[in-house]
């Protein structure tokens, strides 16, 4: 029983990271109709940036994480202006997907160039250590990971549903042309969405790296997991992205307990493809966007 609980806990922790990636992707998608596969790359880039910053300055991991989050919030706004916006103005959605594949590949290449092909990890946030509750070993970093997801979800929800800016963002997501006619600067709204997704990528990367090892080759698994979670939840649905991420993490963990971890991935993805075929809009999406 405790064994099963342990699996559930570690699966949910992985799922939190996937959920954060998917939440960033789905937020950007709802505003700009762009699936940013590179989100998975930014997670690893943020994590390794934090590692290097921490090693060079000796500052506390928590302070380093905060700095990296601000860096990436600003950085993704720049990436949107330089890479994504020029593409989105010219390219069809299919080609836009390939632009972000290119971005993902470029980030992986940059990581290989700067950090080499070694895996990196970092000191955990305070207090560190593990606690045992009901026979389940809980790394204190797990609390941070769950907390960061909760904080992101709460922030996004309050922003979208309780502020004027959020109302404008929802209007832009619902009908960009109409929003523009009403005087909304949709490019500014895009920048805000990208900044938020950058902050979420950095949060995911900096909080997960103390409990795992990351390197240039981990960008694709994260991108794929986030993409799957976002689509399984229903593109554009924030609740769907979070649930999709958690379910994906849980499925992978549960199946890797009984069969090998590679086959667990097969089952998890197979289940999600089946979900897509049976309920193509994902768990929380709208059917009309998927088929015609």
């Amino acid at each position: 029983m405790t064994g099963t609980l342990q699996i559930v806990v570690s699966g949910l922790v992985d799922g939190c990271v996937y959920a954060l990636i998917a939440l960033g992707m789905t937020l950007v998608y709802s505003i700009s109709r762009v699936i940013n596969l590179a989100q998975g790359g930014f997670v690893v880039l943020a994590a390794l940036t934090a590692v290097s910053l921490q090693q060079h300055t000796g500052w506390a991991p928590l302070a380093v994480a905060a700095i990296v989050v601000v860096m990436f919030a600003a950085g993704l706004a720049v990436v949107d202006r330089i890479v994504v916006l020029p593409g989105a103005r010219r390219a069809t959605p299919d080609r836009m997907l390939l632009v972000t594949v290119g971005l993902l590949q470029a980030i992986g290449g940059f990581l290989l160039l700067v950090w080499g092909n070694l895996p990196y990890t970092m000191r955990p946030f305070p207090p560190g250590g593990t606690a045992v509750a009901a026979g389940v070993r809980i790394n204190s970093q797990y609390i941070w990971i769950v907390g960061v997801l909760a904080l992101s979800v709460a922030t996004v929800w309050v922003l979208l549903h309780r502020t004027r800016l959020g109302l404008v963002m929802r209007a832009t997501a619902g009908n960009p042309q109409a929003a523009e006619l009403l005087g909304v600067d949709t490019d500014r709204i895009r920048l805000i969405a990208f900044s938020l997704s950058g902050a979420m990528a950095a949060l995911a990367g900096t909080t997960v790296i103390p409990v795992t090892f990351l390197q240039f080759s981990t960008v694709t698994p994260y991108a794929v997991a986030g993409f799957i979670a976002a689509v399984a939840g229903g593109l554009g649905s924030k609740a769907g992205a979070v649930v999709g991420g958690l379910v994906l993490g849980l499925l992978q963990a549960v199946f890797s307990r009984y069969i090998s971890s590679q086959l667990a991935e097969v089952v998890a993805i197979g289940a999600l493809i089946a979900l897509l075929l049976l309920r193509p809009s994902g768990m929380f999406g709208k059917v009309s966007e998927v088929r015609r």
Binding site: V83, G87, R90, V99, L113, V224, Q262, I269, P280, R291
Partner: protein, 340 residues
């Protein structure tokens, strides 16, 4: 048919009907230009191993990927269905042929053909279900196939040899001839690629190509015109699967082993990148894409570290500013110059 707006070749020809006629007249009998260009290309390819003897190994790999990308061109370029999962069929061809020859001692050529048929069946089965999805959702489902392929290849250790792969696969045997050297493999691939290119060119020119273009342009409109869109999409998927399977088999017989890295998700991405980079809806585009992407890492030891970064940036720039790819852009430039 004439009322449908069909992009690419079809539209070019109908819109530029007048200009095209003049253009052709200026260059002599237009019907002969295609075959002459093809023969010239094959002749150049045939002497290439003697011109650059040190590069034959690279050319073999380029040939393998040209074949995969050529198949994908039918599916993505012509009928507009994105597939990120071509490695599934490369793996079926590669692992299937490897296992049949290694464990059951089948003749290599027979194993290649049988696995191509198996891939066709798998594609037909998957196609009827997956191709109902569109856009991002199809991309996701096929990406799922690529991930599953890599995971199965390393997860089914008893069958596939796990992460270290399937080793000691025999070389290709054609009659009494063992295709072992780089050069021999190159010539086999040259023949297969030429046949593949001929097939794709025929499809593009014929009624099937028109129908597939119509599906790409506007699926409901194509269906309204009486085109069985589901069947055409599935056919394109099956053809692309056969190309990938044969390429996978030949690659395995050339390398004499196959491992999860050979058919990994990164490879699945790079096949799509090759098509986009070179330019879809053409024959030269896939070749150019395969050549650039496989050739880049060979440009020097120090450069090979830069290769993923450069490839990524090139893909971004080409996709953003040159939607027709390198070859499509070059052709457009040449056309603009010749018709002032």
């Amino acid at each position: 048919m004439s009322t449908v707006r069909v992009p690419g070749r079809g539209a070019d020809q109908s819109v530029r009907g007048g200009a095209g006629a003049v253009h052709r007249a200026a260059h002599g009998p237009g019907r002969l230009r295609g075959p002459v260009a093809a023969l010239a290309a094959i002749a150049v390819a045939a002497v290439l191993p003697f011109v650059v003897p040190g590069w034959v190994g690279l050319l073999v790999v380029v040939g393998v990927f040209f074949l995969v990308v050529l198949g994908l061109d039918l599916l993505t370029g012509l009928s507009g269905q994105v597939s990120l999962g071509q490695t599934l069929f490369m793996a079926l061809g590669g692992y299937g042929a490897g296992l049949l020859t290694l464990r059951l001692h089948w003749p290599t050529a027979l194993a290649t053909v049988v696995m191509a048929l198996v891939s066709a069946l798998v594609a037909a089965g998957l196609g009827t279900t997956l191709l109902r999805l569109r856009g991002y959702y199809l991309a996701l489902a096929t990406l799922g196939l690529a991930v599953i392929t890599e995971s199965l290849a390393s997860g089914l250790g008893d069958l596939t040899g796990g992460p270290s792969g399937l080793v000691a696969v025999p070389s290709l045997q054609l009659g009494g001839w063992t295709v072992f050297s780089d050069r021999a493999n190159y010539y086999v691939l040259l023949v297969v690629c030429a046949a593949g290119a001929w097939f794709v060119a025929g499809i593009q020119r014929g009624g099937t190509g028109r129908a597939l273009s119509a599906v790409a342009a506007d699926t409901p409109a194509a269906a309204m015109l009486g085109i069985d869109t589901a069947r055409y999409k599935t056919r394109a998927f099956v053809a692309s699967a056969v190309f990938a399977s044969v390429a996978g088999s030949l690659y395995t017989f050339y390398l004499r082993f196959i491992s999860p890295d050979v058919i990994g998700v990164t490879v699945a991405f790079s096949v799509v990148i090759m098509l986009a980079l070179g330019g879809s809806r053409t024959l030269v585009g896939p070749l150019l894409g395969a050549l650039v992407l496989q050739g880049l890492p060979q440009a020097g030891q120090t450069f090979s570290r830069w290769e993923p970064l450069v490839a990524g940036i090139v893909l971004i720039v080409v996709m953003t500013y040159f939607p027709r790819g390198l070859w499509g852009t070059a052709k457009a430039l040449a056309r603009r110059r010749s018709t002032p």
